[in-house]
Symmetry: C2
Subunit: 183 residues, 2 copies
């Protein structure tokens, strides 16, 4: 990829995350992004079809960073994973999210974030399907599978949201406890 393209792309990503830390996604205009990124208007549209696509690309990068490590391809992460027992997949996730890399969390409790939430849920779905055995024993007889998966995901996001809205006072460990207690 051309050096200029990489630079521009990164400048836009940086500007976007910077703006996201200050205001809601749907209040950010393309004009603001290109000002912050110091990039021509046409250039922006040469890179991203719309603001939604920009978000999508950003999510790809962020989720790749956060979720891919769950698949055991990273030694450091596998270490944590193996030390803390089965529930650590979620603990690990909570820890990652606590760091608030790239203001990803802002997107979780901001309004009109269905787009982001959709991508986030897709990633969680994969994770949950992989680790469904953690919960298998309890309730699967009485309710449909899809509802059960749906519920795990929505509970995870719900717990996470509550955590964020309450200024993340609790430790990731405590939140993980809560998460499993609730389920």
């Amino acid at each position: 990829m051309d050096r200029r393209q990489k630079k521009t792309r990164q400048a836009i990503f940086n500007a976007f995350t910077e703006l996201l830390s200050k205001k809601d996604f749907d209040k950010i205009s393309v004009g603001e992004i290109i000002d912050e990124a110091d990039v021509g208007r046409a250039t922006f549209y040469a890179h991203f079809e719309t603001k939604d696509f920009l978000l999508k690309e950003l999510c790809k990068e962020l989720f790749c960073h956060i979720f891919d490590t769950e698949n055991g391809c990273n030694t450091e992460h596998r270490h944590i994973f193996e030390c803390d027992g089965e529930s650590s997949v979620f603990l690990h996730l909570f820890r990652h999210l606590q760091k608030n890399d790239n203001n990803i969390l802002k997107l979780l409790s901001s309004p009109n974030n269905e787009l982001f939430l959709g991508y986030f849920k897709d990633q969680l779905e994969i994770l949950v399907v992989d680790h469904i055995s953690l919960f298998e024993a309890k309730k699967r007889k009485t309710i449909p599978d899809s509802l059960f998966r749906h519920h795990i995901i929505s509970t995870f996001i719900g717990t996470l949201r509550w955590w964020i809205d309450n200024k993340m006072k609790e430790t990731p460990e405590r939140i993980t406890e809560y998460f499993f207690a609730i389920l």
Copy 2:
């Protein structure tokens, strides 16, 4: 209230709900609403400050209809309530929602519906606080109160969403079972 005002207000409500059955809230423009309602532009803005306020007003009416009956002011509803035992508050709600009065449900699974969802949650919060005893026994020791309430509400909405997205094939009774089984 002036007869003209009532007529106009109702025309706008009707147009709005009609449009909501066809497309998402944030894809509907004021222009479309006034065309469908056959009402002057200035008239619309004389009634509602913005599109968001229109939604708010509509929610007020709908929620008043659905939730107020839970408070026992309506004899027919109280009858149902008393017959079906404690869990019937939620059963009753599911039944009401199944009827899909005024396409309220469309709003639940449509994107960018934080506004609607906010009002809906506020109503649920009241209801849950009133009936928190239904769940009291189980888990309140291990997790904070606010998280617990938050979780009941988000589970209710989650279950409802799953129901809607799956074409509401199940009966309200079955969904109520699921809801309590999950919790």
